[in-house]
């Protein structure tokens, strides 16, 4: 169970760090305003398009990964144990 916790925490923090950096690059137009949550800029160029895609992917990976390892997998294990009894 501790293994599942650190896997979920690692995914949450690692992917969250990547998301934060990319959001800091592309979604923080100014200091005195919305930081990390501003809408995507219109033209981002050849490197920006995959970066924005990666940002979205990291965001959902952080949330769904932590959810999977903290809730779904332990729940499935417990359900399997109950069924085995």
């Amino acid at each position: 169970m501790a293994d599942e916790f650190i896997k979920g925490l690692g995914i949450l923090t690692g992917a969250g760090l990547g998301w934060m950096v990319l959001a800091g690059w592309y979604n923080t137009p100014e200091f005195e305003g919305a930081q990390l949550t501003a809408p995507n800029p219109g033209t981002v160029g050849a490197f920006g398009e995959p970066a924005l895609l990666l940002k979205e992917g990291l965001f959902w990976f952080a949330i769904l990964g932590a959810l999977a390892f903290w809730i779904l997998i332990p729940a499935a294990q417990q359900a399997r144990e109950r069924l085995a009894e």
């Binding site: 950096v21 800091g24 690059w25 200091f31 005195e32 305003g33 919305a34 930081q35 949550t37």
Partner: protein, 281 residues
């Protein structure tokens, strides 16, 4: 030449004796050894099971605190043994880790991680550096250092300052005075807590109520800090003010039953044994 030979032989004999005593093979060697082992622990880190009295044998006839200590260690040893038996990890019979290399490598790993994180963040997200400050004009955003945001947030509680009908809709004190009084109230509550609860719990599960109070305090410190930078938060102002005071209560309401439920676990039983060793309150 002859004397030297004799000395060598003597030393060899003595070494042999000590080896025998260390092994603990025979009764005579143990009794006649130059270093009597009064604690019965032997010289090895992990004593062999067949020659050393167990914790039970050693402590059985003792009373009082020594017996409680023995009970705790025996219990924790049993729990540890059971856990090791059912664990899938490799079994290691060590009592501690040496400073070199284990602790040093671990500390180097931790120091490298945090240094690398500082370098990574400063390179990937360079801090915003504004134009040099102009002392003749007040900037649009005035903020203290982040660890004082909570106090700054308390200064922004103007909407809570009541308009009193008895004063003809006026306020009893100015919003800024009200904010300063809010600081006094919060600091006063924090100062009262040690008189209400001594804090003898070593784990949150031991006192779920006070742990829940602590959780609500931590959450309130966070939400009031968020309120202080409300111009940067994409949440409507009145909703943010409501959340500032609702979230700590919600967090406490969640924390209390969770901690209550955690009392059923393995660690709580172990801790209950442990704090029987403490002096009474």
């Amino acid at each position: 030449m002859t004397d030297d030979t004799t000395t060598d032989t003597d030393r060899e004999h003595r070494t042999d004796d000590r080896d025998v005593a260390t092994d603990g093979g025979t009764e005579t060697a143990t009794d006649g050894g130059s270093e009597p082992k009064t604690d019965g622990s032997g010289t090895g880190i992990v004593p062999p099971d067949d020659e050393v009295p167990t914790w039970r044998e050693r402590k059985e006839r003792r009373q009082g605190l020594a017996r409680l200590t023995y009970e705790y260690f025996e219990r924790s040893r049993r729990e540890d043994e059971d856990l090791r038996r059912e664990s899938t990890y490799l079994d290691r019979d060590v009592l501690a880790f040496p400073t070199w290399p284990h602790e040093t490598v671990r500390n180097l790993a931790l120091a490298s991680f945090f240094t690398g994180m500082i370098i990574f963040l400063s390179a990937a997200l360079p801090p915003h550096i504004d134009a040099p400050a102009d002392p003749s004009s007040t900037p649009a955003v005035i903020l203290p250092d982040w660890y004082l945001y909570w106090s700054f947030g308390l200064l922004k509680l103007g909407p809570l300052n009541p308009d009193l009908t008895i004063l003809g809709g006026d306020k009893l004190m100015a919003d800024r005075t009200y904010g300063v009084m809010a600081n006094v109230v919060v600091v006063g509550i924090i100062a009262m807590v040690p008189f209400l609860n001594k804090g003898s719990a070593r784990r949150p599960v031991e006192q779920p109520f006070w742990a829940a109070v602590g959780v609500s305090g931590v959450v309130f410190a966070f939400t009031i800090s968020v309120l202080s930078v409300k111009n940067l938060i994409p949440i409507p102002e009145h909703l943010l003010l409501d959340l500032t005071f609702l979230l700590p209560v919600v967090a406490a309401i969640i924390a209390y039953p969770v901690l209550k439920a955690m009392r059923e676990g393995y660690m709580y039983d172990l801790n209950r044994r442990y704090y029987r060793l403490r002096p009474p309150k």
